[in-house]
């Protein structure tokens, strides 16, 4: 289900400095899978491209996104209030494949603003009866969404400044807590994803990672958002695959990061 719709804001709250929780009432909510994303359009005519934001949670009526208001577009988006409307394009991309991990134990790794999509993944794993732990890497003590995770699955925390949980990265937390699993679901900055890929390879685990790239269309038409692949891609017929369409979630071995 891909469509541009107008959605009503039902929540806009600042969870931590510059980190907002946004809920949108939209028919698209019913189609959301974990790891998928939507594009949110700024309204100002000087900023035309949609901002890709992952789905943090969904029920049949509402989508929840948690995002950082960092640049001009997301700052504009954060200025809108409950009752205002936003144009969105969704639901986009291929998310985490819950079926692929049935019967396995999954470690959910979220780093920074990569934490939000892990929440919906955790919920879907849980309702599919799949065992999972969440490992959340923060910069500091602003542990947004931690409570949400704790109500779903065992949750471990790392922080770069050591103010909560293990000092360091999610990998440090895995080691410190001696966490084991069969597969990673992971989203976060590129250095983290590279570390996750390496760790998984070393420990014979599967790693599913969510990638980011600048996007224009979000639907596979512009070829703006590709990532290099190790094999020729079925759609592009070159060693490039579209993050917005084939991804954003990939098996780590498939992509050349």
């Amino acid at each position: 289900m891909k469509k541009k719709v107008s959605a009503v804001i039902t929540e806009q709250t600042e969870l931590a400095p510059h980190i907002y929780s946004l809920r949108l009432k939209t028919e698209l909510a019913a189609y959301a899978c974990p790891g998928q994303f939507i594009g949110i359009y700024p309204r100002d005519g000087s900023r035309l491209l949609m901002r890709p934001i992952s789905i943090c949670d969904a029920d049949n009526e509402e989508l929840r996104m948690v995002y950082r208001a960092g640049g001009k577009g997301t700052i504009e988006i954060s200025s809108y209030k409950e009752g205002d409307t936003l144009d969105i394009l969704g639901v986009l991309g291929n998310g985490y494949d819950i079926n692929a991990v049935s019967g396995k134990k999954v470690l959910l790794l979220g780093g920074g603003i990569g934490i939000p999509p892990m929440l919906y993944a955790a919920k879907k794993l849980k309702s599919a009866g799949i065992d999972c732990n969440a490992v959340l890497g923060y910069a500091d003590g602003n542990t947004f969404l931690k409570d949400d995770f704790e109500s779903v699955c065992p949750t471990f925390v790392a922080s770069m400044d050591g103010s909560v949980g293990t000092k360091g990265t999610v990998i440090d937390a895995i080691n410190a807590e001696d966490l084991k699993g069969d597969a990673f679901f992971s989203c976060g900055p590129m250095p983290m994803l590279k570390a996750v890929k390496a760790y998984a390879a070393e420990h014979s685990m599967k790693a599913y990672i969510s990638l980011e790239e600048r996007m224009a269309c979000g639907v596979g038409a512009c070829l703006g958002c590709v990532v290099k692949t190790n094999e020729t891609d079925g759609h592009t017929h070159v060693k490039n695959t579209r993050i917005c369409t084939e991804g954003p979630v990939f098996e780590a071995e498939v992509v050349d990061i």
Partner: protein, 300 residues
Amino acid sequence: MNLSVNIAGVTLKNPVVTASGTFGSGFEYSEMTDLNKLGAVVTKGVANVPWEGNPTPRVAEVYGGMLNAIGLENPGVDVFIERDIPFLRKFDTRIIANVCGHSVEEYIETIEKLNETDVDMFEMNFSCPNVKQGAIAFGQDPHVLEATAKAVKAASKKPVIIKLSPNVTSIKDMALAAEAGGADAISLINTLIGMKIDINKRKFVLANKTGGFSGPAVKPVAVRMVYEASHAVKIPVIGMGGISDADDAIEFILAGATAVAVGTMNFIDPQTTAKVAAGIEAYMKKYNVEDIKELVGAVS
């Protein structure tokens, strides 16, 4: 009321087409908009063999528009023929294949393969700013353009549209060169060349440094060039550059375009083309215009 237009013997049911590279192969947007409502689908540039394109980042947002340096990534003409043409043929719309290449030989190789398919027309992209091996020269020198047009036209069994770069001193000279080279129509504008720098990282935002600039911000340049080009040549002109609604499209038609293409704004609203077509019809009703042709160039 007649919205259909004729470009080199090919009838388009309405004057609204997609701009190459902004609509994939049509497939990507077919779920979100009705391709039957389009005058034609102009497909992403295709070459004789698959192209990898440029490194990422390939796109950037700029004030009122965007930059792209895709570098003409494409799966090659064979996949295009096998996969994309049969898909598009299911719809009641024309197919215009946009063709790219590094050399005259590559263009001709692609065209010769496409000659045997049922695409309706070719659009020759001599003007992509993101390809380094010389293609840009085709589009920025009238003599080279004319010679290339002649070679391509000789190899082609379908009408040939030549797409012009706006990055030239005289668009009139380029339009005349295309016409002299035998083009059946011209289309313009391709993207302006732009650059964006990240001042905090002190780096180019695009891996390619420069990129093609498109979107509403470029419209005044595009309208001016369509006006100048269409007044210089007798062949039909397909106008584009920043069209976001029917008013914009009508502006191009009044400036002299026989048909118009919607590019970047597809990304902002997949329904843009359909809305443009409907809006042109509404305008014609409002002003009692019987035939869209009455509007072409009708500015004073």
